[in-house]
């Protein structure tokens, strides 16, 4: 129980950043391919237009990849007996607080890519929707899930 009482900020595992990178590349690949195909195959497209399309897409991919380390650095969460606090996002940075008494349901989810990295997402449900901690170490996610489940039960609501 002392681990929970110690309210410190936790960060995401380092390989989360790698997983994000791979996921972004996989996601952008079809777009890049499509843009190149469009640039090459559309008849009558002036040279500058096709160059513009390709450059725009490449810039978008680079921007996405460049932003990820910033987001990784900003990501933290903190769990104590009363509430779950987390900060994430860039350029729009959000600081979210979820009281334990409001937690209805906690689950651990992972897609195929996350599984390859031994990562998983933690979903915390309240009556107002879901709050997510992504890309946690798989076993840690399980452990946190149990912790929150316990805390949500033992904190008495009036």
């Amino acid at each position: 129980m002392s681990a929970i009482d110690e309210a410190t900020r936790q960060r995401l595992p380092e390989r989360a950043l790698r997983e994000w990178r791979v996921s972004a590349l996989l996601g952008w690949a079809p777009v890049v391919a499509g843009a190149c195909a469009a640039a090459a195959l559309i008849p009558g497209l002036p040279g500058w237009a096709s160059a513009l399309i390709v450059v725009a897409v490449v810039l978008a991919v680079l921007a996405d990849l460049a932003v990820q380390p910033i987001r990784y650095r900003l990501w933290w969460y903190e769990i104590d007996e009363e509430e779950l606090t987390l900060q994430h996002g860039w350029p729009v940075t959000s600081l979210t607080v979820v009281p334990m008494v409001r937690v209805q349901h906690v689950s651990v989810e992972h897609g195929p890519l996350a599984r390859a990295f031994q990562l998983a997402d933690l979903h915390v449900h309240t009556a107002a929707g879901m709050v997510k901690i992504p890309s946690l170490d798989r076993e840690q996610a399980e452990q946190i899930r149990r912790q929150i489940a316990e805390l949500a039960r033992i904190v008495d609501d009036l």
């Binding site: 309210a7 104590d80 008494v101 409001r102 009556a127």
Partner: protein, 542 residues
């Protein structure tokens, strides 16, 4: 005697069923009522058929359709039954595809009656069984029951609700979701802090029916109705028209100008198309004023220990009920014209059993602002009109409010201004609407900045903002689900942030561009009470 197949306990002999639990059909008037309703909804198709196929062929077709529908309605009436069994309502209907609904009394949040013109004609009422939040679609509608029968159903189901423990406000039926891996234990889906804040009584006395001890909280007056109609958007049309013709403006003009205006008005009247257009406009506006008056005619709000009951309507009398513990915020809405006169509307944000059922329901459509301090606590205990001043966004936020509101109008204005460049030959006059639109956007931004404010008073969060109408949301802090402060790098430099407070899935109240320090302070202060906090236990101990 229950004799239907497939009863809940197949082995139970029919003779053991006590009286009062018989299966019944709806009142025969239901056939006529439903038939008329179905025919009514087909009038458009009927007109199309007659117009398309010609009267000789069309009318027989339409008549045949009406007969078929009538027969269908009659047969459906015959197979529709209901019974009060084992403390719940059992409803069976459906001609081709059967629909069977069993609603336990503990899940029934309200039994509302509606008396429309049709029901009145036949001396029956329609009974709606509300389960989800009391505001969504009714789970079961008994379209025609005699008044004494409706009372009997109410009594029997009310009794069972009283016997069942815990009271529906505390029970966690279908909406409760088990926390995974916690060995089957479940949390209450709907926290009951409102009950604590409202000092809601525990419903333990089986003889105490909810209908007792209800007090009238609000009643609309005819004058209010008229003002409500006049200040509605279409009412404003009439008002403007009359004001122009007979208002103060007329007094300012000298006699000869007035005469010439009146004579040219006569000439205008002689010009038929304009007259028809204007008359049509006035008729439409008058009709909607009338419909406002009819809808809210005789509106009465009564409250008993567990719910609010809103009765209204002239031609169709409706009662809607609102379980008090499902209300998680009150909204005071002031539309621009009404705000000028000092009138507000009071709405309730209501949680449903399922996320999609969260809705907003109007409790009091029209009342003067000065009544709010008295009215809010009377409507729902625990709520009150704030007495403290609201904290406003800092001056440096004004620019951002204006930019946000004027962004879209600026695009429109730019498009108008640049129109000639892309081939649309608009003259110099295009600058006038362009400027007007831009000015309107800027004015809206300033207006929104001035309306924004927040306060925390005695476990109540008060958040005021303006979209177009100024809206004040009053929520109990114990109802807050999660809260969030959002910034961008630019805002961080100006020490500004956005505050969002989630009350339920559809209802997130936001305040933009507030002081970042204040936002964080609110983030910390908006925590629900817990038993540990109350007992003064210190975090981090043992």
């Amino acid at each position: 005697m229950t004799s239907e197949p497939g009863s809940l306990e197949p082995g139970r002999p029919a003779a053991a069923a006590p009286t009062g639990q018989e299966t019944r059909r709806l009142h025969p008037a239901g056939i006529a009522i439903l038939a008329i309703k179905s025919w009514g909804s087909l009038w458009f198709a009927a007109v199309a058929i007659i117009a398309g196929a010609g009267p000789a062929v069309g009318i027989p077709i339409v008549l045949a359709l009406l007969v078929v529908i009538g027969v269908g309605v009659a047969l459906t009436w015959r197979v529709t039954t209901y019974a009060i069994v084992d403390g719940g309502l059992r409803y069976r209907t459906g001609l081709l595809s059967r629909r069977e609904v069993d609603v336990p009394a503990s899940r029934i949040s309200a039994l509302d009656t509606t008396r429309g013109i049709l029901q009145r004609a036949f001396g029956v009422v329609a009974l709606e069984v509300q389960t989800a939040g009391g505001t969504g679609k009714a789970e079961v509608v008994l379209h025609a029951v005699a008044l004494p029968e409706a009372e009997r159903i109410r009594r029997e189901l009310g009794h069972r609700a009283a016997d069942a423990t815990p009271a529906p406000a505390e029970a966690a039926p279908g909406g409760a979701v088990a926390v995974e891996g916690a060995g089957g234990a479940s949390l209450a889906a709907e926290p009951a802090p409102a009950a604590a804040a409202a000092s809601g009584p525990r419903f333990t006395d089986p003889r105490a029916l909810p209908e007792e001890a209800s007090e009238e909280v609000f009643r609309v007056s005819p004058r209010d109705l008229l003002l409500a109609g006049l200040t509605s958007p279409s009412g404003a049309v009439i008002g403007a028209f009359l004001a122009v013709l007979y208002g103060p403006a007329a007094d300012v003009l000298d006699a000869s100008t007035k005469r010439s205006i009146e004579s040219s008005a006569e000439r205008v009247v002689e010009s038929a198309p304009i007259v028809i257009g204007v008359v049509a406009l006035l008729v439409i506006a008058a009709l909607s004023v009338l419909s406002t008056a009819l809808t809210f005619y005789g509106l009465r709000v009564t409250r008993d220990e567990r719910r609010l009951r809103v009765r209204r309507g002239l031609l169709t009398e409706r009662t809607g009920t609102l379980p008090l513990d499902r209300v998680h915020a009150l909204r005071i809405v002031e539309s621009p014209l009404r705000q000028l006169l000092g009138f507000v509307a009071i709405e309730a944000e209501v949680a449903g059993w399922a996320r999609e059922d969260d809705t907003v329901k109007t409790i009091v459509p029209f009342v003067h602002r000065r009544e709010l301090p008295r009215l809010l606590p009377a409507l729902i205990p625990g709520y009150a009109w704030p007495e403290v001043a609201l904290e406003r966004p800092p001056g440096r936020a004004l620019r951002r409010y204006v930019v946000r509101a004027a962004a879209a109008p600026a695009v429109v204005a730019a498009a108008l201004a640049a129109a000639p460049l892309v081939g649309a030959p608009l003259g110099w006059w295009r600058w006038i609407p362009a400027g007007a639109v831009l000015l309107a956007g800027v004015a809206l931004g300033v207006w929104q900045f001035r309306a924004a404010g927040v306060a925390l008073e005695e476990r109540r969060l008060v958040l005021r903002s303006r979209g177009l109408a100024r809206t004040t949301v009053i929520a109990l802090v114990d109802r807050v689900q999660h809260r969030r402060v959002t910034t961008t790098p630019f805002q961080r430099r100006a020490a500004l942030a956005h505050l969002a407070v989630a009350l339920s899935s559809r209802r997130v109240v936001r305040l933009s561009f507030v002081d970042a320090g204040m936002a964080r302070r609110l983030l910390a202060e908006l925590r629900p009470r817990t038993a540990r906090a109350r007992a003064g236990l210190v975090r981090g101990e043992g």
